[in-house]
């Protein structure tokens, strides 16, 4: 005589709609591809997608915002936000370029690993400071990382003497433009980090605690999760991802620039949100963020491809962000996952 504690089966009522709501970002990506493909064929008589150059360009367009978006996904799932990633990326790019500029005449082969190490270490610092401010000193993430946005920006420009820092190093050039199995090295780097972050988020305790923290902070605390340490690590990881993005930037352009990541901050947050993460925390996936970054890249590259004024990119990406948030709102209703009571 087990009592049946059945909840109202809201989710079972519209299974097809619920599926659409969760799979919409995949669907949207496909629709975009079909749209540009059709346009390209009708207007120019060429293929958009079956052209390897276009595919590679889209992947390269997506790589940098995606690298920033990987760490951002963790932070947003945990209920935070990291506004500093763009300028942390720039700072890392400048530091890497500076270190390599000095070392290249002496030891060109050694300059690359030294530059990578320097960029990585420099990127962790703002992350540790962000994490400490937010976890120990209870600064709201929006404010703490906005402060770091300014600090990293200023330090980046100071380190670069206000200009770009060029590097002439064959190893760096190879890292930025070389290919392996026909695929550019920056895409391999991004892919590797995507796989690692996906595993950590979906399979490990660390990932689980990230979701728990965004779902119910008090539950996480009462479960004995070290919430302060976890928060510190989240912002450090986010900054570390920005550091990797900075390295890739410096390699691709053989130069470091403090403003390298400036336009990428919003793209990275947009990728996470379009990928299905809620800005209130508790949901999101790495796969979603990858799709989100690809959607943005397809829009940006596709609009250039069909000769639309480049400024329409901003409009299009902005509309997609708003639509994806609207879909997120309705999804909670369709799948019965609304916070009722």
């Amino acid at each position: 005589m087990a009592p049946s504690l059945a909840a109202t089966p809201e989710a079972e009522r519209h299974p097809a709609l619920a599926f659409l709501a969760t799979a919409w970002s995949w669907l949207f990506l496909v629709l975009l591809a079909v749209f540009f493909e059709t346009w390209a064929r009708l207007a120019y008589g060429v293929s958009f997608l079956l052209n390897p150059f276009n595919v590679q360009s889209i992947a390269l367009f997506a790589a940098l915002p995606l690298l920033l978006g990987l760490g951002q996904t963790f932070v947003i799932i945990a209920g935070g936000i990291d506004l500093s990633v763009g300028f942390v990326m720039g700072l890392a790019a400048v530091v890497m370029a500076r270190v390599m500029q000095v070392l290249t005449p002496e030891a060109p082969a050694l300059a690359l690993p030294a530059g990578i190490l320097a960029a990585f270490l420099v990127s962790l610092l703002p992350g540790l400071i962000n994490g400490t401010l937010i976890s120990r000193l209870r600064v709201p993430p929006f404010i703490g990382t906005l402060g770091m946005y300014g600090v990293a920006r200023g330090v980046g420009f100071l380190a670069a003497n206000g200009t770009t820092v060029p590097v002439n190093n064959p190893w760096l050039f190879a890292m930025g433009t070389g290919k392996w199995l026909g695929v550019p090295i920056p895409i391999w780097i991004t892919l590797a980090l995507v796989l690692v972050m996906h595993w950590v988020l979906s399979q490990t305790r660390f990932g689980q605690y990230t979701y728990a923290l965004g779902g119910n902070r008090i539950a996480a605390v009462r479960s004995g999760i070290n919430v302060k340490r976890h928060t510190l690590l989240l912002y450090t990881i986010s900054a570390g991802c920005a550091g990797v993005a900075g390295m890739v930037y410096t390699a691709r352009f053989s130069a470091g620039a403090a403003q390298a990541g400036e336009p990428l901050l919003l793209d990275s947050i947009a990728a996470v949100v379009i990928g299905g993460a809620s800005l209130f925390g508790g949901s999101g996936t790495i796969i979603g963020t990858v799709i989100g970054a690809l959607i943005i890249a397809v829009i940006q590259y596709g609009l250039v491809f069909i000769n639309v004024e480049p400024f329409w990119q901003f409009v299009a990406v902005g509309v997609v962000i708003i639509v994806s948030v609207l879909i997120d709102q309705s999804r909670t209703r369709l799948t019965g996952e609304a916070k009722d009571e």
Binding site: L5, T8, A11, Q203, R205, I218, S223, G282, D340
Partner: protein, 253 residues
């Protein structure tokens, strides 16, 4: 009740006193609790119910008096310490991560980890789900198998309550403190939680049950401890008292 009375109590509080500045929130409160027994804590707002359970669950440190748990004197450092010795508190807000499934909530903070390919650490979600299903089954809680994989926010209030209780039982809670477990529920679900408490009792769990609802109290309690202004106003067996008497003890006079 009578058979429980023959053995040593699992919990014995002796002269517990807690002061906050000049205010005495709890004054010289003593009681016993046996395995398989439900003690209801009744009292008006500010009577000291919360202070009492917080002292037993390691949140507050009593200024005077002692807590004996399984015959040994217990000085609790913090709530985690209480949980480690087998005292679990289920708060009104349940402390569930709404975005995670039942298994993940039962194991939150204590997930079993296996190594994929002998190398990569991976949470064993299948083991978590099966263990969660197992504990819910022993508690005779019926949650559809496919619901076990959904975020717990898709469960009803009573089911969520059951998940919180299941978590405590899975981790071998011997004393369960339940703070207003029926307050946020509709009437049918209240009844199910009351049934669940009866079942826990039969599984020899000792329960302290806080409620404002005299009907629930009379439905589940073996004894009722009434607090008034931090002091023990009385202790009654439901069979030997009435709602009126309990209310009188609560408000005085």
């Amino acid at each position: 009740m009578s058979e429980a009375g023959a053995t040593a109590p699992i919990l014995a509080c002796r002269g517990l006193t807690k002061r906050f500045g000049g205010v005495t929130a709890l004054e010289n409160v003593s009681f016993d609790l046996h395995r398989g027994e439900v003690l209801a804590l009744a009292g008006d707002n500010g009577a000291g119910k919360s202070t009492l359970i917080k002292a037993i669950s390691g949140v507050h440190h009593p200024d005077e008096g002692e807590i004996l748990f399984k015959g040994e004197r217990l000085t609790l450092a913090n709530p985690r310490h209480a949980r480690e010795v087998g005292i679990e508190t289920i708060y009104q807000d349940l402390a569930l991560a709404d975005n995670l499934d039942v298994g993940a909530n039962v194991f939150l903070g204590r997930e079993p980890v296996v190594r994929a390919l002998g190398l990569l650490p991976r949470i064993d979600r299948r083991a978590m789900r099966m263990a969660a299903a197992g504990v819910l089954e022993t508690l005779e809680i019926d949650i559809a198998p496919k619901k076990l994989g959904l975020p717990v926010r898709s469960l009803s209030g009573g089911q969520r309550q059951a998940v919180a209780i299941g978590r405590a039982i899975y981790w071998k809670a011997e004393l369960l403190i339940m703070d207003e477990p029926t307050a946020a529920l509709g009437v049918p679900e209240q009844r199910k939680v009351v049934e669940l408490i009866h079942r826990l009792k039969r599984q020899n769990v000792a329960i302290i049950f806080i409620s404002h609802n005299l009907i629930d109290i009379f439905a589940v309690a073996d004894r009722i401890l009434v607090l008034r202004r931090g002091q023990k106003a009385g202790e009654r067996r439901p069979a030997e008292t009435s709602h009126d008497e309990i209310v009188k003890l609560m408000v005085g006079g």
